[in-house]
């Protein structure tokens, strides 16, 4: 009962609060209703940041830019139409939302398609706001009845008008409050639904591990831009509401102070909670209203600054986050199941069946080949003109001492490193310049050295999101994920958070996610690391079975494991192909021993 309440808290409590606000809106003091309206609007602005920052993982300082631009456009349209036709909301809100979304999409394209660093992205978004701030100071234009007068701003914006026609009056403060609460509630519940949909799940994965999400084949750039556009739409909508509330706009909406106030709302309430920004805006609004009234000698900025420092240091999850942690203590821990996990037992028959079906759906195995692939970092050349072809049948092992360039070679094939020379082919498809997700689409499945799982998500969700990347169908993804889950023997840990698993279990889960993709070429980087002897044996079985159906390349340190694979072994040294053959021949090769032991002329 309480668990159910907990998992639906984001639905139930906001419903109660919104309902109460609507029910009592008529009884509020008009001035409080008026002021509180602005807090709700700021909450909506905070929500737009929470979508892109708390969920998308990108701290955007351009939210006030979308907010201001949306507000200006919505206001200009409302000024021209509302006096004669009424219905100011109808004119202002949709146009502002669309405008905000378009601007955000354009900025997002710049940021995400160039794959900008996260600090650089944040700073660029800040630059955008500052640019608007300096430009709008002198921007003067008359658009119909609307006069945008530089720093003197845009006056005569109509209030919230619901009626039709010339006589329609603007809403009184209490009704306006109710109206804004209603709109914000609609936006909130829609956002909540969106963030729980497939789209939202993928956005969550991007925040948790952007590289892994792309390795599952999702075009992360597209999702990031779309999410940013949605947050821009919400910000634009909030801007239009603000314009109708304030009846006045001015370039100070783009100021540094405004831009940095939004993260405070989000942090105070709770990052990523969606409802948090509303709570944050309420608290900050009430605080600054009270202090601004003179009770604390007008030291608002001093207190706000101190509050911000304390919040970041001691209450990083904000109020709702802290409440949530407190509540969770009294609920049974779903991660308990992680402790009773048994050993993984690979059933080759089941695996064979899964892999044959995958081949039916995804086509036959593909060859992977490199021709003179070259990658350098400054003076270090980890991949020096490597030419090699990998075919299905038996697993290929890449071995070599530390720094031989094994992982770099793998990363170059995957596209995590961009090669500076040579070509990489998947069958006859030149993928040298292809994006990572594109290679995955074409059939590449990759497991990096460290296990990459979405720690905040459950084991099943991890597998599901991988399966969904290929199937694009909920039911099919459910089925695939369930089969892999059963094969890994992790049914009992289905609802456990991936971060609670042991290192070895995370490796298995990661491998399971790769299997969900039904890859035609599988690249595994040290899959046996952190596994027990028994697990390593099972893994060897899995790799050998896998190699019957697809091309498999394994980078490995563990010679014993390599031996059990009974496959082809390639020795890399200083970025070059050094020796080839089966493991026993190589073991007898003095040169190979030399480079491993760091002796002799080959070093």
């Amino acid at each position: 009962m309480f668990e159910k309440l907990h998992s639906n808290a984001g639905l139930i409590f906001p419903l109660i609060v919104a309902g109460a606000a609507l029910a009592f809106s008529g009884a509020l003091d008009p001035y409080l209703a008026f002021v509180a309206t602005s807090w709700v609007i700021f909450g909506l602005l905070g929500l737009s940041l929470d979508v892109i920052w708390g969920r998308g993982g990108f701290l955007s300082l351009a939210q006030t830019a979308f907010y201001g631009l949306g507000g200006y456009l919505g206001a200009v349209i409302a000024i021209n139409f509302a006096p004669s036709l009424g219905l100011s909301l109808l004119w202002a809100l949709p146009s502002a939302a669309v405008f905000g979304a378009l601007i955000a999409a354009a900025l997002g394209y710049l940021i995400f398609f160039s794959r900008m660093g996260e600090l650089q992205s944040t700073i660029l978004s800040y630059t955008f706001t500052l640019l608007l701030w300096s430009v709008t100071q002198t921007f003067k234009i008359d658009i119909g009845a609307a006069v945008i007068g530089g720093d003197n701003g845009l006056s005569n914006i109509p209030g919230i008008i619901l009626g039709v026609g010339e006589e329609a009056k603007k809403l009184k403060p209490n009704a306006a409050f109710a109206c804004v609460v209603f709109i914000s509630a609609v936006v909130y519940f829609f956002t909540r639904w969106l963030m729980r949909s497939n789209f939202g799940k993928i956005v969550d994965c991007i925040r948790i591990d952007i590289e892994k999400t792309e390795l599952l084949g999702y075009d992360i750039r597209k999702f990031q831009v779309l999410n940013f556009a949605y947050s821009g739409a919400v910000a634009g909508l909030a801007g239009a509401l603000f314009a109708l509330w304030a009846n006045y706009l001015n370039p100070s909406i783009f100021s540094v102070q405004e831009a940095l106030l939004v993260p405070i709302y989000v942090l105070v309430g709770g990052l990523g909670t969606l409802a948090g920004p509303f709570l944050g805006a309420l608290i900050i609004g009430a605080l600054s209203f009270w202090l601004g009234g003179g009770a604390a000698g007008g030291q608002t900025t001093l207190i706000l600054g101190a509050v911000l420092i304390l919040l970041v240091m001691f209450l990083h999850n904000g109020f709702l986050g802290a409440l949530d942690n407190l509540w969770k203590r009294y609920l049974p821990d779903p991660n308990d199941a992680a402790r009773d996990a048994g050993a993984v037992k690979i059933d080759t028959e089941v695996l064979d069946q899964i892999l044959s079906e995958a081949a039916e759906q995804a086509g036959p195995a593909k060859n992977l080949s490199t021709d003179e692939a070259f990658k350098s970092f400054g003076g270090v050349i980890p991949v020096n003109k490597v030419s090699r072809e990998f075919k299905p049948g038996k697993p290929y092992s890449l071995i070599g001492p530390n720094g031989a360039g094994k992982s770099s070679f793998l990363k170059t094939c995957v596209g995590i490193y961009r090669p500076e020379g040579g070509t990489i082919l998947l069958d006859n498809d030149d993928i040298t310049r292809a994006q990572i997700f594109d290679r995955v689409h074409k059939g590449m499945g990759v497991k990096n050295q460290k296990p990459q799982v979405f720690g905040e998500n459950t084991v099943f969700e991890n597998l599901w999101i991988a399966a969904f990347a290929r199937t694009k169908d909920r039911a099919a993804a459910d089925e695939t994920a369930t089969r892999i889950l059963n094969m890994l023997g992790m049914e009992a840990q289905k609802a456990v958070q991936a971060s609670a698993l042991s290192h070895g279990q995370q490796q298995w889960l990661d491998i399971g996610m790769v299997l969900c993709l039904a890859p035609r070429v599988v690249l595994l980087d040290e899959p046996a690391a952190g596994m027990t002897n028994e697990e390593t044996r099972e893994l060897s079985l899995l790799v050998r079975t896998l190699a019957k159906h697809t091309t498999v390349v394994v980078v490995e340190h563990d010679m014993e494991f390599v031996r059990t694979l009974e496959g082809h072994v390639t020795v890399l040294h200083q970025g070059n192909l050094f020796a080839e053959g089966d493991i026993d021949t190589l073991r007898a090769n003095d040169a190979v021993l030399d480079i491993y032991l760091g002796r002799g002329e080959h070093v």
Partner: protein, 288 residues
């Protein structure tokens, strides 16, 4: 366009770029060696300016007021590092927000302590003539100051025990730990030096930019952009970026208007970030 005009434009643009570099260097050091963006950097600059001003008011000559300002800001910087920054290692955006809050506190504290009216200290009334144009000496001297500052930081990082430790901590953290470098002590020192450089900037620029509680804001904003565009190679990268962005904006302002100069600065920042998503120095071999 006459030659003397071009010469003055060149010289004063170089001086503008140098002023930007002086104001930015502390930020670059902290970012380069700790990976921390100090949003209160502009306020440290302000603290430096007020410290120097207060020192001159109690009778210290201006050249002695500058080291006083540096000492003050280093002390405050070290305290801030111990109390706040240290708790937030590895959380770059949290550090940004916390230091922003700190900036707000400093700003309002300055209003409370110094009020809104503080007398300036005046610029040395030296000037020189290039053709028909007369230039104030002091801003041009900032070119020299910036060069000395850069050389000083370079020396500090390459020829002192602290510098070696600091570079080791950021470039080879595990190795540094293994050979017994106490990275948190090094970080305290780095942050204090960064703040000290801000304090120095505030003090040395005091004759050009009068002390007001919000004096650091615009410098800080341009400073952040400079450092972020520069990327991981903080020192050389920032010097080049400051020269390009600051100098370019100043030349633009000379031939057009300062608004166009500002727009140039912001658009160039966006363009450079588009071309170099991880900063211009992301693929450089040098590390300082």
């Amino acid at each position: 366009m006459e030659l003397d005009f071009l010469a003055t434009v060149l010289l004063s643009s170089l001086s503008s770029a140098s002023i930007l570099l002086i104001a930015t260097l502390g930020l670059a050091v902290v970012y380069g060696l700790m990976g921390v963006i100090n949003l209160a950097h502009g306020e440290f600059l302000m603290v430096g300016a007020y410290s120097a001003l207060t020192a001159t008011q109690i009778g210290l000559p201006y050249p002695l007021a500058i080291p006083f300002a540096v000492a003050m800001t280093m002390l405050i910087g070290a305290t801030v590092e111990l109390l706040i920054i240290r708790k937030l290692y590895g959380r770059i955006f949290d550090t940004m927000l916390a230091t922003w809050g700190l900036g707000m506190v400093f700003n309002q504290a300055a209003v409370l302590i110094f009020g809104t009216v503080s007398p300036g200290i005046g610029m040395p009334q030296w000037n020189f003539q290039i053709g028909d144009y007369s230039l104030a000496f002091y801003p041009i001297a900032m070119i020299f100051v910036a060069a000395v500052m850069l050389a000083f930081v370079y020396f500090l990082m390459t020829h002192t025990v602290y510098g070696m430790k600091a570079r080791a901590s950021i470039q080879e953290p595990q190795m540094a730990q293994a050979i017994g470098i106490d990275s948190s002590r090094v970080n305290t020192m780095t942050f204090a030096i960064g703040c000290g450089l801000a304090g120095f900037a505030g003090a040395i620029l005091l004759p050009i930019i009068p002390a007001t509680p919000s004096m650091g804001l615009f410098f800080a904003v341009k400073g952040f952009l400079t450092v972020v565009v520069a990327g991981p190679v903080a020192l050389t990268g920032s010097a080049i970026t400051a020269l390009g962005l600051g100098g370019g904006a100043s030349v633009t302002a000379s031939f057009m208007t300062s608004v166009v100069g500002d727009v140039f600065f912001f658009l160039m920042t966006a363009l450079l970030l588009w071309l170099y998503p991880l900063g211009i120095s992301a693929n450089w071999r040098r590390k300082l």
